[in-house]
Assembly symmetry: C2
Homo-oligomer: 165 residues x 2
DNA sequence: CGGCATCCTTAGGGATACTG
DNA sequence: CAGTATCCCTAAGGATGCCG
């Protein structure tokens, strides 16, 4: 067992025998909404401030039909909300804004962002996301509820646990 | 501007005018390897301890051709390494093990795992990943290099920064 | 401006069968 | 056991055009 693997609770049966291996997996369920490239890109633009149809299509560099499909799916899945609004003197527009559910994907997107910087761009960093009030770069850090930074190799998978509160 | 959006460095031009908006984006580049559901599932199983072809196909619940395609792509992309090995008295087998590059996706997978638990399963938690030495649940927490836990709304996007070290 | 309808091409992925 | 080959179906996504 390598140090990068997650330890399995010794009380668990071998994984091959698990029923509903994907139905019970939160990663698999998350992929139900997030399995396409364009979904990630639309969410990226939502975090970067896009709110209108055109902005999503243009900034994510996807076609309008794809933007329409993604915005609809993400809205139906509850990650975005569609708000009609009207600026004074303008006609009614729609804006798409992140819900709490959508906004909670920030750590996922940030983790992906950082991974790409480290392993695709290497030292040729092109962009950065920082803590506005102190200026230091941010990352998604594996941390336990007791505040410990947890190295890979100290992770253990459990089923139906009593959550540590 | 909502609290869930990432602030843009005021010195930056409007995003619509950026050239190579995707070429320079680490998220987009990461999606080059990770845009399919099966790629996430194969990596999930690698973290859960799978090393052999059969294990990946069976535990991820994907067909053999798909498993073969994903293992090949992930190996070529440097996330997995294929090692021939031989147990005493057995014939030669291949095992696929996470490289440092692949293992570094753990925060991403963990963030997705936690998101699914919170928003798909809600309170009906089915599984948990914990800090083995203290028992507390772990999560991918947005943290800056100075150790601050950074709330959404305090994030700022910069281009070509001098990294805070 | 903010979409949707249509058409087309490519990619993802299952089933089955076969091979070293 | 560890794949590959073939076939087929569906999903992703671009291009174009239309429409309120």
């Amino acid at each position: 067992m390598s140090a990068s693997q997650i330890q399995m609770d010794p009380a668990l049966p071998p994984r091959e025998s698990w029923a509903d291996i994907n139905d019970d997996c939160p990663i698999f369920q998350s992929l139900g909404v997030l399995s396409t490239r364009s979904a990630f890109l639309v969410l990226r633009e939502a975090f970067y401030g896009a709110t209108r149809f055109d902005q999503f299509a243009q900034r994510a560099d996807i076609s309008e039909p794809v933007a329409a499909a993604r915005l609809k799916e993400l809205t139906e899945a509850g990650l975005l909300e569609k708000h009609p609004y009207r600026e004074p003197g303008q006609r009614t527009r729609n804006e798409y804004v992140l819900t709490d559910k959508g906004a909670d994907l920030l750590p996922t997107l940030l983790a992906l962002f950082r991974w790409g910087e480290r392993w695709v761009f290497g030292d040729g960093i092109r962009a950065d996301i920082a803590h506005a009030s102190c200026g230091a770069s941010v990352d998604a850090v594996v941390t336990c509820e007791h505040g410990h930074r947890v190295p890979p190799g100290e992770l253990r998978f459990r089923r139906n646990p009593a959550r540590a509160s």
